[in-house]
Symmetry: C2
Subunit: 363 residues, 2 copies
DNA sequence: TTTAGCACTCTTTACTGCAGAGTGCTAACT
DNA sequence: AGTTAGCACTCTGCAGTAAAGAGTGCTAAA
């Protein structure tokens, strides 16, 4: 006993692993007999029972009631994910699927993320989420105006992360295309690389001054810029494959499910989660580990998409605590590799560095 | 008997209405005794039973099993909605809530729709959806380019409906800001007001010719324009308050629920619905009326947002068949009035005509 | 045409008993 | 000391039954 540095004998590990895997597959408590039949250990069911009792004392297993089999505890899953899970390697077929679908939809990051989360849902058969984190440091790196009618133009802003947002603006007095060109010139001089709270009264004064005859545009433009910055800052959470949750009996209990759905609509908690685990490569949050109250019965695995040290987004998989971690981890690895490649090859703001497939679990 | 032109005596109507309303509230079959106690008809429960038996023969009611109360049939709801429902008038409080929240989030149509559907979900306590219909006739009315780096620029397109989309483009050979200005000029001459299938080889030839030294840009630009048009065409469906469905016992049956969730992810069916009922003011689809297979137990009420004869979007409410139609209809009326006002007052592409609060049910 | 009364049907709930699954413990074995 | 066989015990799940309740349809009388 105690022959291993983490305190579990090889046999205990094997039993724990078998229990976790069996429970992942079937969703029901697993008993000593099952282990005996499916795992060729050279011992009897009684021995296994003894081991299981010890594993329970150590906190890795729990018993729903006195005479049911054992179910992995949160700690049990944790240990499984950290030390026992074998890396699932995607089949050629799956890799091909990712390549085909993702490349077909090549586009802006938002789209790629959503597409990737669709794929994740399909491949893992759990619910997946695409997360675009809040970016509190985002600024506008370039302005442009588009003249439409004498009293109507569009203000376009390109953010430091490359996304493009626009706002329609209506003017009281007519403006000329030349005035608008002047406006964008002034904006590109004055208002570049400022975050919302760096825009101060002096900026506005200067803006009005530089606009000369068109000073009447200033107020609306400033408001529009504020709005644009707010939109750029804003995180987004998009959910795919929600219906897949329902096939797992743990979600047949309404109430629980309703709460979870409610949480999913409230993107805030997920955005917080992502920014909190920013440093990690892959994060695996099991049950109550993830401060999102509702998730006691669930697990969330997510992987940020990092580019040049900046977290551009994340894709995650949400499912019951007894999630097929091997498969989910493998899928997210594969997907993120592909996304990184895609971002590298062209459609994003900077070319270069590809942060590849280096796998490591987060704590 | 048969004193009314639609074939139902006043008393039958009253009974039918009472049954529908009671069922809407409680969700359970309602019996003759309940009617007797809550509706002061000058008759006994036996008479009511006779009337109910007749209403059942006429197809307005059905009996879940031999000795339960009656439940309105699809036809019963239909009749209720068409002739019996009283218009719900929003409370001052509700109107104020709409005004406050909607005006605070003034912005592009997409945002307004989503915000309105959030409100609809809150006010009605059902699930709401915001629908931006496919627009197969959409074209680009203005192009603009934004220079970022020698090998990297952005193509911006303003659609005929006023929405703005953009695409990052990477070039093999370096381009100058002047070249890009030329490019947008040429695009604004050549490629304006064309739908995807109107872009032909001659266009591309001419584009290359006019670009002169920068002809190498043409291929990528054409592809980008195709992509932009596709994105502009694309409909969107956004769901709010999904969790609210679960409080109604009709959705406690998994499977049914799972199918419905699946359908909600597949926006196609909803987009089809909207375009099919384009002419209507308010559409009320009860159960199987709405060709969406899954919805046998549900009802969908939606109202298009129309501006200058064009359907810009729609907001809808989805709930159990026994939905509080009065409240839902009233809420959608109120919301759409406010949206119309908002669109009128500034942020959208054309000013003018406000299609107000004129209410009428669709058939 | 309406009503009172009653028999009938069907669902819901509670309770019972039984079979099955799985454990924990003890005593014997290596 | 670790392992095993055996057995008693506990808890769940299911089937069957009985009783209560709700609501109807029908009949006969007003």
């Amino acid at each position: 006993m105690r022959s291993e540095k983490d305190g579990l004998s090889e046999r205990k590990k094997q039993i724990l692993k078998a229990i976790v895997q069996a429970h992942i597959e079937g969703g029901e408590p697993v008993g000593s007999k099952y282990i005996l039949e499916n795992q060729h250990l050279n011992c009897s069911s009684a021995t296994i029972r003894n081991e299981m009792a010890e594993l329970e004392n150590l906190g890795y297993l729990e018993q729903p009631h006195a005479s049911a089999g054992r179910v992995p505890s949160e700690q049990g899953y944790r240990f499984y994910v950290d030390s026992l899970v074998e890396h699932y390697v995607m089949t050629a077929n799956e890799v091909a699927q990712i390549n085909r679908l993702l490349r077909a939809k090549m586009g802006e990051l938002d789209q790629i993320l959503v597409e990737a989360s669709n794929l994740a849902a399909n491949l893992t058969n759990y619910t997946a989420i695409a997360i675009k984190p809040r970016a509190s440091l985002v600024t506008v790196s370039k302005f442009e105006t588009i003249y439409l009618e004498p009293d109507h133009y569009i203000l376009v802003a390109v953010s430091s992360t490359g996304s493009v947002k626009s706002k329609h603006l209506q003017t009281k007095e007519p403006v000329t295309p030349e005035a608008l060109e002047n406006l964008s010139g002034v904006l590109n001089m004055l208002m570049i690389n400022l975050s919302a709270d760096q825009i101060t009264l002096p900026h506005m004064m200067k803006l009005e001054a530089l606009l000369g005859n068109d000073a009447h545009l200033a107020a609306d433009v400033i408001k529009a810029i504020y709005d644009l910055l707010k939109e750029l800052d804003d995180g987004e959470v998009k959910v795919s494959g929600l219906d897949r949750l329902l096939q797992y009996p743990e979600y047949s209990d309404m109430g629980q499910l309703q709460a979870l759905l409610g949480t999913l609509e409230n993107k805030e908690e997920f955005l917080d989660l992502v920014s909190k685990n920013e440093g990690e490569d892959v994060s695996v949050l099991i049950g109550s580990e993830s401060e999102v109250k509702v998730m006691n019965n669930s697990a969330l695995v997510f992987k940020p998409i990092i580019k040049d040290g900046k977290t551009l987004g994340a894709i995650g998989v949400l499912g019951p605590r007894r999630m097929d971690y091997a498969k989910v981890l493998g899928t997210l690895e594969g997907l993120s590799g592909n996304i990184a490649d895609l971002i590298g090859t062209g459609n994003q703001i900077t070319g270069g560095v590809s942060n590849g497939q280096d796998a490591k679990e987060g704590g």
